[in-house]
């Protein structure tokens, strides 16, 4: 199949993320995925819009809700699903699992399961890009739940102090796990912190993937051209619970349904149908279905890694004992 370009490509990626995760939710219920599974459903436009504004050589870091950024950056659905299934063919040979996918080739340097811990790491790759003068930019996604963590403030301090080419993207979905922002952040506008660190900021409701591309793209271009960090706050909503084990009873059905009516994926599809045709978009959807089914079948058929993988991936040199 030929890969679509432009807006069709953005839609296709959003749809791919949505459908992969829906199938992963099913697989989780079937016991094929262990541990934790945090779905990105509802927030796809952020990863896809941001990725569209990045160069392939730019670096990306994100949270444990990482499937969307991984697929947006170009990780194959096969590698992602196999990783979630704990298979040797997964992105990290099954060692990481859902929260910790990693793709060196696409410079997706990980999902991070310790809240806030990855912000300094992203600051480090941005430092290295500036040090090497390679024109690269680092993008770092995190939730508003990271804001009370020390690393948020340490990373913004260092990035501003050293004028690093980095875009901090706060995906503010309104809930730090099960607690609404109003109960955990004394100041609800995350971008208000930009003042403290003397850096530019932008804050907007995520409704349209192309707007995300433009708004985050402006921050990326500022980073690339002027080596200045930006704090972007994307107001978004996750349609599912914090993880699969969270029924989300801290939110009303009315609230969730109101947000689903503003689903950026539904909007993107409608706009693409208007630009192309229902048949053309349905053909894209069919491609995605085939890709997802292929990924699940691939993961199902793949072998599990064996324990002899553990030591050589812990140390490069000889294991101590």
């Amino acid at each position: 199949m030929t890969q679509p370009t432009g807006f069709a490509a953005l839609y296709r990626k959003m749809q791919l993320i949505r459908r992969v995760e829906e199938e992963c939710a099913r697989a989780y219920a079937q016991g094929k995925i262990g541990g934790f599974l945090h779905l990105y459903i509802g927030q796809e436009a952020i990863a896809v819009g941001a990725d569209a504004a990045l160069a392939p050589t730019d670096y990306a870091f994100t949270t444990y809700r990482d499937h969307g950024v991984a697929l947006a950056r170009g990780m194959s659905a096969r590698a992602l699903v196999a990783e979630l299934f704990g298979k040797a063919t997964g992105a990290c040979q099954g060692l990481g699992g859902s929260m910790h996918v990693f793709d060196a080739e696409r410079r997706m340097l990980g999902g991070y399961g310790i809240v806030g811990a990855h912000l300094p790491l992203a600051t480090g790759t941005a430092f290295a890009s500036k040090y090497r003068g390679d024109g690269g930019v680092t993008i770092c996604f995190f939730g508003e739940g990271s804001v009370p963590m020390g690393e948020f403030h340490e990373a913004l301090t260092l990035a501003s102090l050293w004028k690093l080419p980095i875009v901090f993207v706060c995906e503010n979905n309104g809930y730090a796990m099960g607690t609404p922002i109003e109960r955990v952040l004394p100041v609800h506008e995350v971008t208000s912190h930009a003042v403290s660190y003397g850096i530019p900021c932008d804050r907007f409701e995520v409704e349209c993937v192309r707007e995300v591309q433009t708004r985050i793209g402006a921050a990326i271009e500022r980073a690339r051209a002027e080596s200045v960090p930006t704090l972007v706050e994307c107001l978004t909503y996750r349609f599912r619970g914090h993880s699969m084990s969270d029924p989300g009873k801290y939110r009303t059905n009315e609230e969730v349904e109101a947000h689903k009516r503003k689903d950026p994926l539904v909007r993107a599809r409608a706009e693409l149908v208007a630009e192309l045709s229902e048949a053309a978009v349905a053909a894209l959807d069919a491609e995605v279905e085939a890709e997802v089914a292929d990924a699940v079948a691939f993961a199902d058929a793949s072998p599990e890694p064996t324990a002899d993988i553990l030591e050589p991936t812990t140390y490069k040199g000889p294991f101590a004992r």
Binding site: Q93, L95, G124, F127, L310
Partner: protein, 324 residues
């Protein structure tokens, strides 16, 4: 060859590493214009400039986290944590991110770096400037841990650590930073990681020590000799991966072992060393393995010389082991 101290030897190693490889950076609190609280980085800022010798805010988590990102990119950061007691704000970064990076990336990426930090007591620093937290890092799979005792080893081990593909914690025993002097060759050389040294040969008791306590073990061995007990003193040098073969070979010869460390006794590295010895040389043991260590308390200010496992505490352990 010139006689220099450990501060000068480590400074020399950093300078050589930075001259040879533009990927090597030094960063930390007061490491640049000030030259470091112990003067270990003196002169580097002038020679290499502020792009490569970076004064940071007081932000240990930020320093180590940023260094991990630099390392992911392919730079070779050598961050300094001003005292190993200050490393705990960065403990999460070291444990959750640094130690796991190679593994969690399926072997794709390592975060190759050397964290330098002064360790141990001996400067009346009290509870926040004296601790020896090596075991807390050895327990985390994925890190290598080094602690030299003399200038020659300090330079060679630091250059080996900077060349090593894995993250290394480089503990510098501040009690002997300037007191330990020795001949150090000019120019680069390495001391292989994971290899202990026999600091004193002896047939009756094996003593395992490292860092500043090596000198106490040697002094105790000297005093034991006057009583007819010849101790073999092993300088572990690399704490992890530790050279258990050298230790076990010695214990098989002597049948008796005393392990010395400044850190508190419980769950200290000494316990692990004793376990490894009993697993490998149980039938060779002629006496219960002994530990001479710090106490299971915070590190004291006024009673520092009681807390430290100095020669006067090591000597009876050697003699008791020999006469058991």
């Amino acid at each position: 060859m010139p006689q220099i101290n450990m501060v000068q030897a480590i400074n020399d190693a950093l300078r050589l590493a930075m001259q040879r490889d533009p990927r090597v950076l030094v960063m930390g609190e007061d490491v640049g214009k000030v030259g470091g609280v112990f003067r270990v980085t003196a002169g580097l800022h002038e020679e290499f400039g502020e792009a490569r010798v970076i004064d940071t805010p007081l932000s240990e988590g930020g320093i180590i986290g940023t260094a991990i990102g630099m390392a992911l990119y392919g730079l070779v950061p050598v961050p300094e944590i001003q005292f190993s007691d200050f490393i705990f704000p960065a403990y999460d970064q070291i444990v959750s991110e640094l130690a796991k990076m190679r593994w969690r990336s399926g072997g794709e990426y390592s975060a190759k770096m050397v964290i330098r930090t002064p360790v141990g007591g001996g400067i009346r620093g009290g509870l926040y400037h004296s601790q020896s937290p090596e075991a807390q890092f050895i327990h985390v799979a994925g890190l290598k841990v080094v602690c030299p005792s003399n200038p020659y080893d300090a330079k060679g081990l630091l250059l080996a650590s900077i060349a090593d593909p894995d993250p290394v914690l480089f503990f510098e025993p501040k009690r002997v930073y300037r007191a330990a002097k020795g001949e150090v060759p000019e120019g680069p050389y390495t001391v292989e990681l994971g290899k202990a040294a026999i600091a004193r040969e002896g047939a009756h008791v094996t003593v395992v020590a490292w860092g500043a306590m090596l000198y106490e073990a040697l002094e105790a061995a000297h005093q034991a000799s006057a009583r007819g007990v010849e101790a073999e003193v092993i300088d572990l040098r690399t704490l992890w991966p530790l050279d258990i073969d050298t230790v076990v070979a010695s214990v098989k010869k002597t049948g008796r072992v005393v392990v010395v460390h400044e850190a508190p006794r419980t769950c200290g590295l000494g316990g692990e060393i004793v376990s490894l010895i009993t697993e490998r040389a149980f039938t060779h043991l002629e006496a219960p393995p002994a530990r001479v260590t710090g106490f299971d308390t915070p590190f004291p200010y006024t009673t520092e010389l009681d807390y430290l496992p100095l020669a006067h505490r090591i000597l009876p352990a050697i003699v008791d082991a020999a006469r058991y």
